[in-house]
Amino acid sequence: MEAVGLSKISFSYPGSRQILRDVSLRIKKGEFAGIIGNVGCGKTTLLMCMNGTIPNVVKGEFSGESRLFGEKLEGRPPAEVWGSAGLVFQNPDDQIFAPTLDEEVAFGLRNAKLSESEVKIRVASALEFAGLSNLASADPCNLSQGQKQKLCIASVVAMGPKLILLDEPSSSLDNKSAEEVYALLDSLNKKGTTIIVVEHDTERLAKYARRIIVIENGGIALDGGREVLASPKIEKMGLKVPCSVKFSRKLGRKIAYSPEEFGVGKK
């Protein structure tokens, strides 16, 4: 079953150059896919096509066809497809608006017209999942950046979407918080949620993603398994090749994609 099906998508924002050109991409249910590319190449734009934010909410010149779990997205705004796809933006401060954590998580559930008792149960379990239970009544402003990011993820996870799209979830986090966020995503993926993440940190992707999609000039330059990260093109584009790949190449060993595989990290 296809989670995301984009066929020949082209898009430009009003009055701007073309951002996406003829992009066709299929992502199967249950995948953990990472999208990389240089600054401004259209990663966020691509993500917004996947849940129909483009062209239904953000307007521009759009052509092609987008499908989510087999259903056409055109004319179906994100508010209708929340059960299929959740979207987490890059900056948590742009998404959090409620005065307490539990209100933030409850927001979507109330939109879904769940009963107040069901809302309570789901809020509690989403906060528990994100490790934020003890902060349920706290003010999100006072959270650390990592906790804010987890809160944004919890707000989406509470709604139980089959696919979660994330835009650079670790960009403002230190290594430990980023690991924690990815561990959450990994556990969701193991339970069957499809995860698509835009990420500039190739080390992180090497460890968690099983598919890598490289965007260049508004199109897909490379698409494949983790071996994509070892392709010469990555270096040519100025993207970072994971250290383990470099080391294993240098030592003439079988390519390892993470320190763990290389045999130095903790298992």
């Binding site: 934010t53 508010a79 929340w82 933006f89 307490t100 209100e103 927001f107 009544s137």
Partner: protein, 193 residues
């Protein structure tokens, strides 16, 4: 700050409808009878009692909303010069009570409860929601101004408010754009309320 502040208190736990009725009745009484010193000082005393029950410090509340309270100086001076000191003081007590009670309501009622309470008094859900999100946004705006101000001061900025306005508006605008998309992707549909 104009926003919900969680505490374990009887006032936080009260039904939002009850708090809303109380607020509306109190403000009406103040508007009609606030010129009586007994009424305006009575309500001022009552507000202070309610703050202590709600475990919120009135002094902290006043200092973090000092811009609002500073504006009270204008009617105070006007009354002082045009009428009498008694009238100026009574009027200040009247206005302070209105503001303190309104702030207390906001600080002890979650925006979603506020929206539900409004809706249960037959205010259309759209308007109720717009109201409570506007409240949320005011709180966000205040925090954003504070952060930008601190950041500019730390870069040896002046206390001139003008350079504050551009980045704060820019951030608020960006936030409004992203937030609206994020809210829609969490099932919020303004047309279906």
């Amino acid at each position: 700050m104009i926003k919900y502040a969680h505490r374990e208190s009887a006032i936080h736990a009260l039904r939002p409808q009850a708090k809303l009725v109380f607020l509306v009745v109190s403000i009406s009484l103040l508007v009609f009878f606030g010129r009586e010193a007994a009424v305006s000082f009575g309500f001022l005393a009552l507000s202070l009692v309610l703050y202590s029950v709600a475990r919120i410090s009135p002094a902290r509340t006043i200092s973090s909303n000092r811009a609002i309270f500073a504006v009270l100086l204008i009617p105070f001076l006007f009354n002082l010069l045009a009428f009498s000191p008694e009238r100026a003081i009574t009027n200040a007590a009247y206005l302070s009570s209105v503001i303190l009670l309104s702030l207390l309501f906001v600080m002890t009622t979650k925006p979603s409860d506020f929206a539900n309470a409004l809706a249960s008094f037959l205010v259309p859900r759209r308007i109720a929601f717009a109201f409570s999100s506007a409240l949320n946004f005011i709180g966000y705006f205040e925090r954003s101004i504070e952060r930008t101000r601190v950041s500019q001061l730390s870069r040896a900025g002046s206390r001139n408010p003008l350079p504050l306005i551009v980045p704060v508006l820019h951030k608020a605008f960006r936030k409004a754009k992203t937030l609206s998309i994020s809210m829609e992707s969490r099932g919020f549909d303004p047309d279906r309320l």
